[in-house]
């Protein structure tokens, strides 16, 4: 479905020292610095896959998505999505993709949502029958109903995002690009959006590429994760695998009465409050049952919970490991 081959993209950024003198100087001559947003990046995505694309701010995530959407032209390399080159055949190509940028809006600001939708219908030349069917399906799934008659400016962020997602799916796209679709949404809206994306992927076989900083999005949606940093793909794999790879550590939270327990080999105390303690445990040195037994025997234990480290922490560890 998506072939991303040896893509390189550089940006030229104006450099200027602070201060009035330098500002005047910059009127006449400017210094530029070249930044490699993407450096020889290649990957493939199969039909019907959901791929999560993660990396810290400025890693090149959005640049990649924008190249795949035909918005940016790379300096070198080739990209084929759905049999077409996004930037060379832009208008024909974008007819078959759907795009949601979480930080921007594609709905016309001061007209009712339905007017925007009808404009999209004409723009994408959607047949009336297909349009009606899709509109009905999307309004039920995303609970749009009354929202359709409201101008975009009067909607809350969550409501608007639901409309944005619906708008990007009216024309039955084969690929859906989501750039931080859950940014700024409340918990309920986030869950609704995730559920919906999963459903669309399952029922229509839509390939989904999603970038996000919200690791719960990744956990809920994707099987495969691409990690990008400093313009390079650093990791490509399954999220569980990644977790195992980065760390086998377990986290133990205990509550107790009386004196805090002494720490034995294989444990590390991470945090201690009045009568709570967080310990990270290396199960190769001390197994989990043994650790529980140890606490039960040595402390006035009132509560204990054992968990894997969170995806959030795993990613932070990954960023640290790769120094990005």
């Amino acid at each position: 479905m998506i072939e991303f081959q040896n893509i390189t993209k550089m940006y030229r950024v104006v450099k200027r020292q602070a201060g009035f003198g330098n500002a005047v100087k910059a009127l006449f001559s400017r210094e530029y610095e070249t930044i490699h947003a993407l450096n020889n990046v290649s990957f493939q995505v199969a039909d019907g896959e959901i791929v999560g694309y993660i990396g810290p701010n400025g890693a090149g995530k959005s640049t990649t998505i924008k190249i795949m959407c035909g918005i940016l032209t790379p300096d070198s390399g080739n990209c084929i999505v759905n049999g077409r080159n996004p930037w060379r055949e832009r208008t024909a190509y974008v007819r078959e993709i759907g795009v949601v940028f979480g930080q921007r809006s594609k709905l016309w600001w001061d007209v009712p949502i339905i007017d925007s939708f009808e404009l999209f219908r004409d723009m994408y030349k959607i047949e009336t029958k297909v349009y009606k069917k899709n509109l009905e399906e999307l309004s039920t799934l995303l609970d749009l109903g009354e929202l359709l008659k409201t101008p975009a400016r009067n909607l809350s962020l969550g409501q608007r995002m639901r409309c944005e997602i619906a708008a990007s799916l009216l024309h039955d796209p084969k690929v859906l690009f989501l750039d931080e679709p859950t940014i700024g949404l409340d918990a309920v809206s986030k869950i609704a959006v995730r559920k919906f994306i999963k459903k669309i992927n399952k029922e229509h076989g839509t390939t989904v590429i999603i970038t996000t900083h919200d690791m719960q999005d990744i956990e809920a949606l994707t099987e495969r994760v691409l990690l990008i940093g400093r313009g390079k793909i650093l990791l490509d794999g399954n999220i569980e695998e990644l977790k195992r790879r980065t760390s086998t550590e377990k986290r133990i939270d205990i509550k107790f009465v009386g004196a805090p327990p002494a720490i034995c080999a294989g444990m590390k105390c991470q945090e201690i409050k009045q009568n709570q303690m967080r310990i990270s445990l290396d199960p190769h040195i001390l197994s989990v049952p043994d650790a529980i037994a140890y606490f039960a025997a040595h402390t006035g234990l009132t509560d204990i919970s054992v968990s894997d480290i969170s995806t959030e922490e795993m990613v932070a560890a990954l960023y640290k490991e790769y120094d990005i």
Partner: protein, 266 residues
């Protein structure tokens, strides 16, 4: 084609809802028109025979100009295009299956048409009922038709130039400077401040063939009755030529620019 009509429709409807803007601009157009007429009246009183335009022609010119004021503005807010370029929401425009140049062309036209629809009638009605000396006159049918054709062409030329200006904004950090320069140039050389026939002869010869004359002066002179039908047709021909040149340049630059566009952040 249908999509461009839909775009035009949605933008025009969108623009029609701002009442305060409409009232404000009707008042300011009327006041401005009256002021200009009084100024020309003072001039004509000193020596009415020496001017190329009669006072009555000048009055019609000014009223029609005020009625269609926004239609002929090269630098008009075009907010959504300016923001699209400045904050990067152009990204969304590029994932739509239509040519950006065409859709912006339609948007710019709509931005000028909808306020004009609101403004022109009240201003013209007032202009038709003021004291006879300051009243607008209505030309014969043929002139009216030529005027209509020329007005539509003028709008298209205005928009084509506005788009060139918008495209240049891809290369600048802030659009302010270029907008000031373009405003000054276009208003002055299109006959927006004083009608072109009042220009000195040698200057007029050059100004007449510049694209700016096609943006406002041509239709207004046809309306005021100063030019013969033959001259009117020639003017319309010149408008067509400039329109083609500006559109071709705009499309070429747009394609070139889009292949280098950089959308930062988000």
């Amino acid at each position: 084609m249908k999509v461009y009509f839909s775009l035009l429709r949605i933008r025009v409807i969108n623009g029609l809802q701002y009442r305060a803007v409409a009232i404000g601009s009707i008042l300011s157009r009327f006041a401005w028109g009256l002021m200009e007429i009084l100024a020309f009246y003072a001039l004509h009183r000193t020596n009415g025979t020496k001017f190329v335009m009669t006072f009555s022609e000048t009055v019609s010119y000014i009223w029609m100009q005020q009625a269609l004021f926004i239609l002929f503005q090269v630098v008009y807010s075009d907010r959504e295009i300016v923001t699209a370029i400045n904050d990067g929401s152009i990204a969304y425009e590029l994932v739509r299956p239509i040519k950006l140049y065409n859709s912006w062309f339609v948007q710019c036209m709509a931005n000028r048409i909808s306020p004009t629809l609101l403004n022109c009638m009240p201003v013209l009605i007032i202009a038709a009922f003021v004291v006879p000396k300051y009243r607008i006159h209505f030309p014969p049918f043929l002139n009216l038709m030529l005027f209509l054709i020329s007005t539509i062409l003028a709008l298209a030329v205005v928009v084509a130039l506005a788009l060139l200006m918008h495209i240049s904004m891809f290369y600048t950090t802030s659009p302010r400077g270029i907008r000031i320069i373009v405003t000054a140039m276009t208003t002055f050389f299109s006959g927006g401040i004083i009608p072109l026939p009042y220009f000195p002869e040698p200057v007029l010869k050059i100004v007449e063939i510049l694209p700016f004359a096609s943006m406002q002066s041509t239709p207004l002179l046809i309306y005021s009755g100063l030019v013969t039908n033959m001259e009117a047709v020639q003017g319309i021909g010149l408008q067509c030529i400039w329109l083609l040149i500006l559109i071709a340049t705009g499309m070429f630059l747009m394609n070139r620019t889009l292949s280098r566009v950089v959308v930062q952040g988000g």
